[in-house]
Symmetry: C2
Subunit: 147 residues, 2 copies
DNA sequence: TCGGACTATATCGCGCGCGACTGAAACGCA
DNA sequence: TGCGTTTCAGTCGCGCGCGATATAGTCCGA
């Protein structure tokens, strides 16, 4: 009557995410980055100087995860954290020269990961959209279980 | 030149896995289980008395994760851990009555999660297979990067 | 303008994952 | 038989995620 982990949608997701991070490891280790740190940089390369909260919205993380993570990145010399002069509540996260310079390596990382997936760019985009849809549905059903 | 997290396949996976665990939370909290603990039980419901290593192969986890996890489950009265009488190196993990009894709730959990995905069983199975393929490819490319 | 509500970030505790290492038991071969 | 090798589990350290809580800054209405 029970289902084996391997037959569950949830487990495929769980395992694929771990395999994804494992695949990134050899690509990111030379840069001294963890995967979540790479995500933060990716967000800042698009839009530097975001607040902690804005980063959290982009990445789906709360400050309890982001604050220590950003402090480690600051200690590594990748970003600066400074209180906003206008609104002292918010903290602006900006790239250092070192953080900005890593963008030059990003293309190599992306190509390496795409190669590891064995997918064409179109296939990868299609699967990405399917999974993103699943995420959206799950999030919606969790945050608003009524109706 | 850079890609936003939302446009990356890896990020959709990362976010979907978090949304998946969040969707499971209201289903598993009443049972006093975390998601990895639910996976362990699922594996034991199929095949009770597995060794720690066998569980690790099934779930893609090593003993550094499993041993503390299983100890917590033992403390919660869900499983027993006993050295194999024949081979004293391996540890057999067996369900307690309490752990076995939870299988009765599993169907409710499964239905609740499927509903949260908004997918039909066929759609869920199809997506599961696609994601499992991705996982297999990623794992293969990571463990054997030569050739 | 003053006080309460709201907002943004930070802190704490705990459960994973995982790399690196340790130690004990079983195996295999000289 | 004895010793090196292999196998299995456990331990340690650290970086996430996240629920719960704290604190400081801002806003808004009486």
């Amino acid at each position: 009557m029970s289902l084996a982990p391997a037959d569950m949608l949830c487990f495929s997701l769980y395992g694929a995410q771990q395999a994804m991070q494992a695949a990134y490891k050899p690509l990111l280790d030379p840069l001294g980055l963890t995967y979540p740190q790479y995500l933060v940089l990716s967000a800042l390369w698009i839009d530097d100087g975001q607040s902690v909260g804005a980063l959290g919205t982009t990445l789906g993380l709360d400050t309890n995860t982001l604050t220590p993570l950003l402090k480690r990145m600051q200690a590594a010399g990748l970003v600066d954290r400074r209180r906003d002069a206008v609104d002292e509540r918010s903290v602006r996260v900006t790239l250092t020269d070192r953080g900005r310079a890593l963008e030059a390596q990003a293309e190599t990382v992306r190509r390496g990961f795409l190669k590891a997936t064995g997918l064409s760019p179109d296939q990868a985009a299609a699967l990405r959209d399917r999974i993103a849809d699943l995420r959206a549905t799950l999030t919606a059903s969790t945050t608003a279980p009524r109706c």
